[in-house]
């Protein structure tokens, strides 16, 4: 029987990812424990290290999936959006907000995982980020037709970062009173005001 080992390893890998995904989503990145994983997956702790280099590798794998779902949600929102480029920006940003709110702990894990210093971001991260940037850059090109390409790149990154900051601080202090609607209002306020005097 060829590949029985590889088969079992692949199954374990998938299983570990699903378990880790659930723990992160329900209890956050900080609640992920090697022994819990092994116990739930019905394997030894050491087995985890046969499949992933370390727990960070596993988290990065979960993050890749989370980021992909995030990208898909934003793309779907864009597909349903009207033609107006400003509205497209607002709707995508609010889709970003909704995803972050509905998958708060998983979304936090995207940024809370500590990369070894000096290590570059993984490829999937840059790719997925690039896709998001494209979604933003296209409407921006319509809104600001006269600007140089490098300025477009800067604009894109700046707007993404702004929306990210609004969502991040808004959700962080949810306890100290930033209602969901206010976050959406801030997003719309910034994007509309920003694009109001386009030229």
């Amino acid at each position: 029987m060829a590949g029985k080992v590889a088969e079992r390893r692949a199954a374990l890998r998938e299983n570990l990812i699903l378990i880790a995904e659930r723990i992160i989503a329900q209890q956050g990145l900080g609640a992920l424990r090697a022994r819990d994983l092994a116990s739930e997956a019905g394997c030894a702790v050491g087995a985890i290290y046969n499949v992933f280099g370390d727990l960070t590798d596993l988290v990065l794998t979960v993050n890749a999936r989370t980021f992909h779902r995030l990208g898909a949600d934003v793309a779907e929102a864009l597909a349903d959006a009207p033609q107006d480029p400003v509205e497209q920006l607002v709707i995508m940003a609010q889709a970003y907000h909704r995803f972050a709110a509905e998958n708060h702990l998983a979304w936090r894990a995207l940024f809370d995982v500590e990369r070894a210093p000096g290590e570059a971001a993984p490829d999937w991260y840059l790719e997925e980020m690039g896709r998001l940037f494209t979604y933003i850059a296209d409407p921006l090109a319509v809104i600001f037709p006269g600007r140089a390409p490098d300025e477009h790149a800067l604009l894109t990154r700046a707007l993404f970062s702004s929306v990210h900051g609004i969502v991040l601080l808004g959700l962080d202090q949810a306890s100290s009173g930033v209602p969901t609607e206010d976050i959406d209002r801030m997003i719309a306020l910034v994007l509309r005001q920003f694009t109001a005097s386009a030229k």
Copy 2:
């Protein structure tokens, strides 16, 4: 001899804060270790817990000082700024950026410390944040005289969050190529564009 104990405790407290401040600034929050602290301070590990409830308390104390320095830097930048309210916003935001860049690890520690879930932010945090918000709200009131007060609050928070997001993502991926000047350009771009069509 009255208060010899209290005196020593106060001295140890101050000493621990200074050591922790240096470790966080030079090596980051993750490099803070109880045993290293005790060793450097010349006391037993247990002594730390006579002065601080736990290491998080100590980190929060360091963070309070960091946040205070940040506020002072922004205030100083504002004091030296011209009368034009848009310029004031840009200069303050770039002062925020400069502080974050020059005190990167200490600044990260402000947000990376994990609060127990459901626990409110400490008072000093809310106070210092309130001060920063005031700095922003004043020029905004000049730029957007016609808006309702609650909309001013939202605008203030939105702009702060936007700048924070730009700085956060800009510094995070310093390795993947966001030069300092670009961060300043993004800040100026967002703030100028945002205020360009004020009404």
